[in-house]
Amino acid sequence: MMAYLPNVIFLLLLGFCVGLFVRNCKRILHSIRLGKPIDRSTDSKQRWKNMLRVAFGQQKMAARPVAAILHGIVYVGFILINIELLEICIDGITGSHRSFAPYLGSFYSFLIGSFEVLAFLVLLAVILFWIRRNIIRIQRFWSAEMKGWPKRDADLILYFEMLLMLLFLSMNATDSLLQAQGYPGYMQAGFFPISDYLYPLYAGFEVEQLVILERSFWWLHSIGIGVFLNYLYYSKHLHIILAFPNTYFANLEAKGKFGVNPQIKNEVQQMLFPETHSSTSSAVPEKFGASDVFDLNWVQLMNAYSCSECGRCTSVCPAHITGKKLSPRKIMMDTRDRLEEVGQNIRKHNGEFKSDQKELLHNYISTEEIWACTTCNACVDACPIEIDPLSIIMEMRQYLTMEKSEAPNELNAMMSNLENNGAPWPFSNQDRLEWIKN
């Protein structure tokens, strides 16, 4: 019986990690579904292309070549090395060791060798990422909204990846030493171009100690992956999954086109053309614009979960560059934080949201930020996974102006000019052709 203990422990751990991951996914989906409907089902061919280009192909990362290369290495390394996850699971469940080796032969050696090279490159890239963040201190990683958890989160991810790669290489190093000594259960399998260099570290160990080390590395590496998987929910690292649906469901229309509110359209038509538009056909909108996450659409909420807090948006925002409070990244981070708060509230109250006297606007995002935007679309263009902070800003402006009548005074003056004489300035419409005269 005792012989099967590791298998049982592995299965239990696997079940726990997968179960927890499924629970986290459900929570995220539930929160995203709190958003209002928006139709992003059309043009699926274009959407697939967009996803392949932007998420899978990482096209928009290229704007910053150094980050693009480092990120590309980590991305490719992550996907390929995780092929080994399949073997780890089978080995863990059945108690076998390198169960793929007999079937794949020399290709197995090629695979393991490639994984090692990738693991080394990932380790290198992650160290360089850490240096960029903490020694070179690239400005966009040190804005106000990056204090506290966001900063710790970013560093934790890097430490996690370093640790996983080191465990993977150490596991291989001890394994191949045991293979060389012909220790029972460690058949000749794999090719170890990188972990070769770790031999001196383990050369002094007895064979039994090596077995303990090898097993420890194997288990720690496996458990580490399980922990990392469930860390995603709490982290900006969630982008590794959500970047794909996020680019698929992104806005395909011209960036300058801001959507028309159909309910307002009905109302305006009734006012302007009462003879052709009867009042029975429409309902008055219950609320103009957005002041909380419930007023946003599900794509905007998914955007918030997808944000990797890279700050490319903020670094090109003209308002931010000139010292204003607005940071498009903060808009997304605030939306996610508020959405999580709302989600917790709902779970605590058995599926019902109990008012907490808080809102995304005011409690998280200030009106000063909302009014500083020039709607220039630089943030939307800069986002490597097509997040749209501008749409949230615009809906908050609608709330402030139409629902609360709290537009800045100068804008109210501009709008009353518009109402009175059809121009944003106090000129008489009679003078529209004055330009012809001089």
């Binding site: 000139t322 615009m394 059809g422 121009a423």
Partner: protein, 258 residues
């Protein structure tokens, strides 16, 4: 200057090929009026059959929409659409990227489907079809840089038309550090033109002016009356107005017409 309105043409039983949407800046702002006149000069030189709406034109609604007043935007839009439909307008050209974007992208959902062009696109076609030619002498050898208006560039992906037009001037076309899809805003968009900016370290037009100064051009070519104002102010604040001129693409072409 003799420019017909749609109402005048209709009374004569005529209709123009294209409507020139002048916009509020082009109608009322003294600096922008010169751009309007320059573009009309080009249209007339090309013998284009065009008309303006005159007193029947109303603000497109862009600043109201960007200020969050969807209600007022739609009031403006639906009135304009009704006017344009009454004259059976199909083609519109405008020298304002904000009007351009709103008419092109936001009017269709309200029932207004028109073929809308920015004046730089229109001038490009005129040059291509040989309806106008430039001498290539007035700005020969001058360093010219184009400032991408957000609502032409990122908003509508139009980067090449203004540049192709400027290339005809036989001048030295140079690019700023941030250009095309990375172009830095002038600070006027999103209804900012009509309000003081929020508290910060400096103004957005100053930031853009710094980039212009780095390049040290003779001329900054603009394609938007609001950008024009912001950049002119920024350059004046640096007391560089003697060295660096801000001119609309239409003004540059009008000055070099053959």
């Amino acid at each position: 200057m003799n420019v017909p309105t749609l109402a005048q043409l209709q009374s004569e039983g005529k209709s123009p090929e294209v409507v020139f949407w002048v916009g509020c800046a082009g109608s009322f702002d003294d600096r922008a009026k010169r751009i309007t006149r320059a573009f009309v000069e080009i249209l007339q030189r090309a013998s284009i059959s065009f008309a303006v709406l005159g007193q029947e034109e109303q603000c497109s609604g862009d600043p109201a929409k960007r200020a969050g007043n969807e209600f007022l935007f739609q009031m403006q839009a639906l009135q304009n659409i009704a006017t344009l439909h009454a004259y059976k307008v199909t083609q519109i050209v405008t020298a304002c990227p904000h009007c351009f974007n709103t008419l092109k992208n936001e009017y269709p959902e309200l029932g207004g489907h028109f073929q809308v062009m920015h004046h730089t696109q229109f001038i490009k076609t005129l040059l291509k079809e040989g309806k106008i030619t430039v001498r290539g002498g007035a700005f020969k050898g001058k360093r010219i840089t184009f400032h991408d208006p957000c609502y032409l560039g990122r908003a509508n992906q139009i980067y090449e038309a203004p540049r192709e037009v400027l290339q005809k001037l036989d001048s030295d076309l140079v690019e700023m550090k941030s250009c095309k899809s990375k172009g830095l805003c002038c600070g006027a968009g999103g209804a900012q033109m009509f309000k003081e900016s929020e508290k910060g370290t400096h103004e957005i037009n100053e930031a853009r002016t710094l980039q212009i100064e780095e390049l040290n051009p003779d001329i900054v070519a603009a394609g938007c009356p609001f950008c024009n104002t912001m950049l002119t102010d920024g350059i004046k604040a640096k007391q560089k107005e003697e060295q660096i001129q801000v001119l609309d693409v239409a003004e540059l072409i009008a000055k070099d017409l053959d």
